[in-house]
Symmetry: C2
Subunit: 123 residues, 2 copies
DNA sequence: ATTATTGTATTAAGCGCTTAATACAATAAT
DNA sequence: ATTATTGTATTAAGCGCTTAATACAATAAT
């Protein structure tokens, strides 16, 4: 699981997004413990402060729980996680339709283009 | 046509994206002249230097042409524009499928979710 | 001919992000 | 009891982005 970070926007926001995806997709399952801030920072080739910043915001969002001296873990509220996952998926679809709309494709056309591309990829 | 700019990433990159969309979707048609840098900067509530930076990069990309003292205009190469539009649409679909994939949905599922949401929106 | 408009360039300042270095308190591990 | 590990906090420096102020050359408009 690689951390590919772009330079065109703040690293800590990218860390937040990627961590969120890992949590929602089950890479870090509900209740599981995370590596230490320092370890995760090193793995992502990032300063510990920057990783700390991202993690503390994920805690604020309710996805992570901090145990002062024994590290952090993913929330045990599995329902919250699956709810967040559905919400994020919905948002992905909305942004996609919005983006296509700005290019001049309505919803029906966008759907057609997606299924068309999937057909192509089958071959 | 509003310029809603976020603070989470550089303004000039957002200007580039939004200008590109306006060009590809025909808001600024092929061959049409753009307002001056100063005017566009004021309209977007941005410093002229920032707008200049975005426009000069769009010129580098071949979408804009500069006429030293009589302003800028959109390239007259209509074919290039439509090609860029197709390319951008394709990229939108790919990113969407990629994002859904990271959340744990395969291509078929993603397509189903889109059509599902469109059904909902009809009601 | 004169004026206004065009893109362009330069300099200085402020700001947030990122890194680096360092330190501390709490507590799990030994 | 001692040690190692944990999250956390602070300070200073560098960097790119953004703004502001200003100026210049080229040329369209008058």
């Amino acid at each position: 699981m690689s951390w590919d970070l772009q330079t065109d926007r703040p690293i800590y926001t990218q860390l937040i997004e990627q961590m969120e995806i890992r949590i929602l997709s089950g890479v870090y399952p509900s209740g599981s413990r995370l590596p230490s801030v320092r370890d995760m920072a090193q793995e992502a080739a990032v300063n510990p402060n920057t990783m700390q910043r991202a993690l503390s915001q994920l805690e604020e969002a309710g996805l992570l729980v901090t145990h002062r001296t024994s590290g952090r873990s993913v929330t045990e509220d599995a329902q919250m996680i699956s709810q967040a996952k559905r919400k994020l998926a919905r948002e992905q679809i909305e942004t996609f339709l919005e983006n296509m709309g700005r290019l001049g494709f309505d919803h029906a056309e966008a759907l057609l283009l997606v299924s068309g591309m999937l057909e192509e990829m089958k071959k």
